[in-house]
Assembly symmetry: C3
Homo-oligomer: 173 residues x 3
């Protein structure tokens, strides 16, 4: 089963995804896409770490999400990707976006056939004023497209608001 | 029947509106409110055009939405307005907003009595940080008011997230 | 009963909260958290005032929300707080945020045990592009955390879009 947990900033989307992973009954591999770039992000990563059970496996992969999913996905294993939005940022901006299209294509290609449980977290960023900067606008566009494409593949899609899950597709949480 | 399809940037709202128009069984008139101002918008318009069936009628009307709707609405015809948000931008900023109040009033006055099918697309822009600029803030306010007023008139209102329709009013999609 | 009415800018959230207060059958106390700082806010406050029934009690409290709720909450009384977002702004920025943590802690501590009806309005600000400024980003984070914490305490949580209530928790509106 594949699940996409969307939500705004501090909406509680990661906590819901973590609960789903915990309840999956599977061995859990947590894939962090964050890169430790500055103090603010370090603090967020630290808080996320504290909340996760000690027995979860952990991998950090900012860029090659398709490759690590292909390598690690297995029956009886639950992979939690937190989050797609930072991965999108990484493939758009690392090496001037040289890996953007190929990484995006690879993810959408391999995702439908992955075995086991896959839970992905994404940041809803499209419901505010359209930003003035061209790069912000492009990021908003690519984020929306990514979520549409992933949602079409997923069995369940949830929008999180104020810590509460609202199921958009699949069996209600 | 009147329908309002809301959604954030790249949420898939236009695709849902186009599907509804296609399934209406009516002759479809597509009213584009975009004005070809710069390369970025040209590219978006081109993509929208490619997706639309060839047999749809097309009209471009950036400003006088009430007038063209009054003229063109008819039983057995489905009019798709894509989108209210660009029209709002146009009436707020063209000629320093001289047409704003009168165009807004006219649309809300004629809309309830239009014959045939009317499908309108709008961009949800009110769920981000309140913008710093006074004009952006005013735009966010007017957009919210417009959507409230249109939604009160419509038989069905849908919020699109990640390509998935969530029905807020009327029969669920 | 405790209710949280969320929504974007000009989504119609205050009108829904006011309707719920009106239909409560209780004496209504309206707590305004806005401070009359500039002309734009004055105009908004004036519009809000015009819409409210004359027989409602009114209190203005920008900062010490926990204290006034503790003092005023009573069986048979409905308190409407409009809105949490301005209160959050006030405790974050007044006196350089000196009251932030203590006021936040006090509110979350006293809220579960308040008697009577409590209706709180909040602005959803987390679904747009993550803002560039550190303070805006912190505000977005604190707003999300506040809504999660309040929502966990409330019996009903509603997200308002285009004037239409979508119930996220509790009995549907």
């Amino acid at each position: 089963m594949k699940q996409l947990i969307l939500g705004g900033a501090r909406s509680g989307k990661s906590a819901i995804a973590e609960r789903l992973a915990d309840e999956s009954g599977c061995e859990v591999l947590y894939i962090a896409t964050a890169t430790v770039g500055d103090g603010e992000m370090e603090e967020r990563i630290r808080l996320h770490r504290e909340r996760r059970p000690d027995h979860w496996l952990l991998a950090e992969e900012p860029l090659q999400l398709a490759a690590i999913l292909t390598e690690q996905a297995a029956e009886g294993r639950c992979i939690l990707v937190d989050c797609l939005t930072l991965w999108l940022t990484n493939i758009m901006f690392m090496d001037d976006g040289a890996h953007f299209q190929s990484e995006m294509d690879k993810l959408l290609e391999i995702l439908p056939d992955l075995p086991g449980e896959i839970i992905m977290v994404g940041n809803e960023v499209g419901m505010g004023i359209v930003p003035m900067g061209e790069m912000s606008r492009r990021f908003q566009d690519e984020s929306g497209r990514l979520h549409q494409n992933i949602a079409a593949i997923c069995d369940r899609v949830v929008l999180t608001v104020a810590g509460l899950p609202h199921t958009l597709k699949g069996e209600a949480l």
